[in-house]
Symmetry: C2
Subunit: 236 residues, 2 copies
């Protein structure tokens, strides 16, 4: 019998590829997404299409009140999204798009759902590029969450289940992720990365996330299938 | 200058006492409660009164979609709340009122808020009686979360803040907690423990939580100020 896996799905390239890895490894996919007051709500629409495309058994979308907590340019409209490399490239510190404790919150929910589903495996698409910016994308963080997951659950404590947190992209570059995703049949046209999209859903092309994505496609020698705002399109 | 602390506040006896401990230790209180589809929504009303009574600087109430995840008698109406000791006393296993990964989810949010507030300290009212039933109330679990909190945050990683998870009641019995709460000025009439209250808000008197509470008051040689349904009242 196939094993179940909970896969965190933001609608971006990384979680799409992580989901394709889980599918290739033979898991039944239970996709988990969040509506958390992010500017890029278009992500969720993409996430639905993507999850349907990749053939998940179920897709749970949970609403989170992260905007009440604030503290991030992604959830607090009073903070500006960094553009033109003033985020991760220039500051050398953690960028303002960091959402406090976001992956801890996301993984907590995935753990709850995994326990209910009797799934031992949780996939998250964190990677080495995030690593340079976000603390909750590092291998030692993922290992610490795995320890917590085993200690803090009924299933883990009673020994039925040894939760595993899979971060299959953690040591890959964006270009590696794109190559792997394509090899595994991901349609990147169904993914969304922009932190600050136009009202029509097109990517801005200038935020940190768009820049990393475009750089990844360039390094992989491929054309990004998503549509960008005019300024970005002319740069490509 | 006084230091800030985020205090998880369910509206029950334990979190009320934990909040009073934090206040006594000189912290400015930032109370955090959750609306998570629990049967005992009356808890939140009590929590508001309690937080006002204890003089918090702020009280944030976040809505969680835990009912969509299910798996607990507290959030899933299809599961029965154990009565008359068929929960923790007879089964010797983790009771059906266990909510999968609940404290992990609660602590994740408290960590997010603490990071935004620049608060180093988080208080949670877990205790030794919960310990016997719920895995996410044990000292090793609390220690694992503290490790995670330091690794998974910007503030923890950049070294500005060393997050501490305080569980001041962890080794106390219910009777000890009641004595300590009264010593610190907690009005237990403003607290609520019942898992399955009547529609008028009165406690059932027979669920695990009511039984533990009543036993605690009996052991402390005191009368519980909250109102119980007739059956429970006649037992007292």
């Amino acid at each position: 019998m196939k094993k179940k896996a909970v896969v965190l799905c933001s609608g971006g390239m990384d979680s799409a590829t992580a989901m394709a890895v889980a599918r290739r490894e033979g898991y039944l996919i239970y996709a988990l997404s969040f509506a958390y007051g992010q500017r890029h709500a278009v992500e969720l629409e993409k996430a639905k299409q993507l999850v349907a495309f990749l053939g998940a058994c179920d897709h749970l979308i949970l609403s989170l009140d992260l905007d009440k907590i604030g503290g991030s340019a992604l959830t607090d409209y009073r903070l500006a999204v960094p553009k033109e490399g003033d985020g991760y490239e220039q500051s050398r510190s953690i960028p303002s798009t960091y959402v406090p404790a976001r992956n801890t919150i996301f993984l907590s929910y995935s753990l709850a759902w995994a326990e209910v589903l009797k799934a031992e495996d949780i996939f998250i698409g964190v990677n080495v590029l995030d690593y340079s910016g976000y603390p909750d994308c590092r291998p030692e963080y993922i290992a610490a969450f795995e320890t917590l997951a085993r200690l803090g659950t009924k299933a883990g404590t009673e020994g039925h289940i040894q939760f595993r947190i899979h971060a299959p992209l953690i040591s890959l570059t964006k270009a590696d992720i794109i190559r792997k995703g394509i090899e595994l049949g991901v349609d990147f046209a169904l993914t969304h990365s922009c932190y600050d999209p136009l009202t029509d859903g097109r990517a801005c092309g200038t935020c940190d996330s768009c820049r990393l994505r475009l750089k990844g496609f360039a390094e992989a020698g491929m054309k990004d299938p998503v549509e960008y705002a005019e300024t970005a399109r002319s740069e490509k």
